[in-house]
Symmetry: D2
């Protein structure tokens, strides 16, 4: 089987990472590459690392250009996916890397994104209980946000097994600046971010907050509440999420750890590190992996889970390709590196 695949939004970071991964996919033929303002220019101007595709010219993002492909990846600004998607037939598998179809709750959408809620598609996190089956054969997939992917995977086993109080989850996630996209903004300039760390979207106002809660709520019959603070650090890629919550009475460190090992024993992309070894984002650079470690703070009675992931790979484009593999009946792990580029 060879899938003809188009990428809309190919000049952005998500688009570039999709093309990096798809270029080595044995069952993929890369078709149309489209863009908004960058249409007409060569791909290599925007992504000089995509050597074999550098000479390709970006076309304008229209449904007509995207039709006729087996799979269309949308890597567009929020709010632009719906219009394109509804013009693509059900025979086209559409994988949306944007936020438009992630949230089930229309009110939450309006509160955090504003504008009209486009609806929701099967959520592209195969590691969620029952979700893998829903993604098999799906022709529409909403790829999760990067913070929700790593935060959900970090908290899932503890919440699912009632090991922690899900009403007191705290996540502080340190991220590289590519997560904020490629549009030139003053606070993301090199001279501003190098040598500096800063928090943003503090106080529950970051758009990924309701998505994390949406993922965890079905795993427990208790109320779920996540205090989420993202921190920008001077690196291009990578998220390190430090998560904690009070453990329920009688929880032992062993039981806590065992719940993680059990939960992810068969997951190809989620790795609980050997006891005592803590994740570092560098180890996941360019890989589709999440590395986890967990401990019980005996002084405070809190479980502390730390997770590392590449925001552009497993957090965006790698997760999207994983969903494509599932949706099209391929081996879920095809073309997804397990090994990061370190140091």
């Amino acid at each position: 089987m060879t899938l003809k695949v188009a990428v809309a939004g190919a000049s952005g970071y998500a688009g570039g990472e999709l093309l990096r991964l798809l270029s080595s996919h044995p069952e993929v033929e890369i078709g149309a590459l489209t863009a908004g303002g960058n249409a007409g220019s060569a791909l290599g101007q925007h992504h000089p690392h995509l050597t074999p595709l550098a000479g390709r010219t970006l076309e304008e993002t229209t449904a007509a250009k995207l039709a006729g492909h087996d799979v269309v990846f949308l890597a567009l600004p929020h709010g632009q996916s719906a219009e394109i998607a509804e013009q693509l037939g059900d025979d086209v598998t559409v994988i949306d890397c944007g936020a438009d179809f992630r949230l089930v709750d229309a009110e939450a959408w309006v509160e955090f994104y504003g504008g009209k809620h486009a609806g929701h598609w099967p959520y592209g996190l195969p590691e969620l209980p029952g979700q893998r089956d829903k993604l098999r054969g799906a022709n529409r997939v909403a790829v999760p946000g990067c913070y929700p992917t790593v935060s959900t995977l970090a908290l899932l086993p503890a919440v699912q097994n009632n090991i922690v109080d899900p009403g007191q989850l705290v996540v502080v996630a340190v991220s590289g600046t590519s997560g904020a996209g490629k549009g030139p903004k003053p606070h993301l300039m090199g001279a501003e971010v190098m040598g500096s760390a800063t928090a943003y979207g503090v106080g529950g106002v970051h758009r990924h907050t309701p998505e994390i809660e949406q993922n965890l709520a079905p795993q427990t019959d208790q109320p779920v509440s996540v205090s989420f603070t993202p921190v920008l650090a001077p690196m291009a890629r990578g998220i390190l999420a430090t998560c904690s919550a009070p453990v329920t009475d009688g929880t032992t460190a062993d039981a806590l750890r065992q719940s993680y090992e059990d939960a992810y024993a068969d997951e190809p992309f989620v790795h609980v590190l050997p006891d005592g070894q803590w994740p570092q984002t560098q180890a996941t650079l360019g890989a589709n992996t999440v590395q986890l470690q967990v401990t019980l703070d005996q002084r405070t009675g809190r479980a502390v889970i730390v997770a590392a992931m590449d925001n552009l790979t497993k957090g965006t484009a790698g997760g999207a390709v994983q969903c494509m593999n599932l949706a099209t009946g391929l081996d879920e792990t095809l073309a997804l590196p397990l090994i990061g580029v370190a140091p």
Copy 2:
């Protein structure tokens, strides 16, 4: 008044930063500069930035070399201050940048540092209630750890005013790598830390945990518990501490913010930023300042406080000079920059 000042451990990061600040101090004459293994070499080999002092030769750290100064700064590895200090007379003001005399509780010392507890000295955080007076005229001062300084200042007003539950404090602090000292360790090599974030000392085992609790406990009649996780980020200097705790019933965002503005209105080195502006470590680089912002997460009912500070300046050497100024009767702010080097 001109103080003759010696620095023991002058070849390390704390020593270098002390000399940077002391070089522009109008009431200081720099005397002996001593070191351990680096004794006999030129200061400029270790600190090429200390241009005016670069030709000075490091002497061996002994009480004899340090005696005869008005002030002696100790920037030694943990466990080495006590022996030196007891050989220096009461007429010498000793400012210890190490941990030896920070903890009041001997058991906590043994648990977190091991070995014999050397005792405790007046704690060099003038911003703690009542502490400034205790430092005036003191001839022994224990300079706080960098994480305790920033974490304590970030949490103090909320704890002091019973605005948060002090039993559920969570601190995740992102730090530059200079905080780990100058000794060459594999995990602190440039290629390991650049482009990477990693947590360490997770689960309440970092030595600064009891120190934060020691600072906050006297401010409230409720039990204090701090879940503290340090994260290494790819920058040389700076700490960004993200702190949170559940607010007590009826707390408003305004009351929360007001408590911070009131607490620090007269503090020369602690600045609550204008509403909506979040701290970045770069703004404090080389300055003796802490920048703070606070918000109330209405969804989770948690106060979130973010604080930025330079670990080597206000977090170590600047804090130490501030203590020297107080201890010797000088203006507390002498020779302490308010303005960071940014970008």
Copy 3:
């Protein structure tokens, strides 16, 4: 004497660095702070590190706002200084950090900058032979570009003493990204520059090329030619210039080195490092210093000189304050740090 000083272009990097230095200047009172598009906003929004001035409001850059000051610093985009300057009387000392009045040769101006040549002012590099005297009492000063400052100082003694062939000078200068200014451009975004080095303006087309040649040409009776390549490195500040040229017959390593030690023996801000110690930009961070080292490559017969400098301090704002000190009759070194912020 207290000078009333205005800064035009206060929201940019040069403006911010000027204010950092001027804030600690004992003879300066900071007056009007003006900006273009940022007029009306608080200084602290753009420069959160300028704590004591953070609440100041930026006014619009007009001659009227700038008049009535003893000294006006212009930190404006190229081409905007002339119009402002001609409206300021001769009683106002105008220090231009832009390029408008640097080049003597109108043709070179047109070739490299385009547009009309505004003329030329006394060139603000006091270390050039005879230049210090020309700056004393000057009421107009053109502050050099950052690359020309460091490159000229690195090559001056060798050219001046006919130790090298000035027709074969090669300079490769690695720079932090703040040198490119604060305007958000795609290739200067954090994610683009972190972890990456790239050359730009290659092949003699960088605007600083004729300025370096203009500085060196008067020092020799031979033709001067500089091959200049700037390289962007992942750091906010700092320039490391590697310069080389064939030595003239019979030149010894000792004579080469001696020429540098002699040339800069009395210069307060140019430091030849001890033999064998090579400059690093970190040592000059925030300081008004240039650090130099020189060697003779016996295999190739080339002198190799390496110089480190902070592009924003000695390379722009520090150099400008140095010029102000000279122009207004103050001690040349006032308010100019000799010690960098390292590590």
Copy 4:
């Protein structure tokens, strides 16, 4: 064909990168992994990114452990390869990533490395004229140093075609710090290198100097002389080499550029970028590619060539795998990424 492959020195950076590439090689089965001081520990402790191999235990580096493999990669400190290699039979293909067998000239070896010259093996740079054929079927290969690889490829067409004076070659190469290896040295600590650039091995004393000359000398009948200066920049990986030389009379910009396009038209891993686009190291991160651009500086009459490469991939481990592919009769490009991980 499946090759059984061993890696000696698996815990270092070259070893880790070899294993990253070999893990995805379709014709390779990874056999013994050996180390010096790290023998006995798990590979994952040293290379947490090598997820699928993380549980493997490092054995001691001995000829006995390495025998019985089809291919043995040596990634050992200089001076240790000879003893191991001579104990491995001719039926074992030995690919040495160290310097021991790179230099033909025994005197140059003694001058730059000291100690006894071990001899020389077929030099593993297939892009050198005639070299590809010598590597096919070779059972001993000396992999080039990282600086020689990128410098040679940057200068080769110009030297080969007599377009430049090979007696006046100047190379300034900016490198990430992983090139200096994994041993913890004070000047390579994160806090020392972040935010800083520094030159080292200045004046023709870097060990890679004679290797560059050795590569270029046979391409011309004129004397070859290279002034080589390496500069450490704050990044983990990547080399950006800026090379220049006076062009011969009558050379045009077009002829210069054409010589590069012609030389590398059929090379799978060397890419001349479109006119006007300059290389950046990020685009080659983790890829086996070299990106080049060339221009003629009309003012100075010098050709300027800039080349970007990943020092650990094409500069070490990727080059080594390329050599293995050639030596064992496989497709030269197997398992070697063309696409870097950017941003």
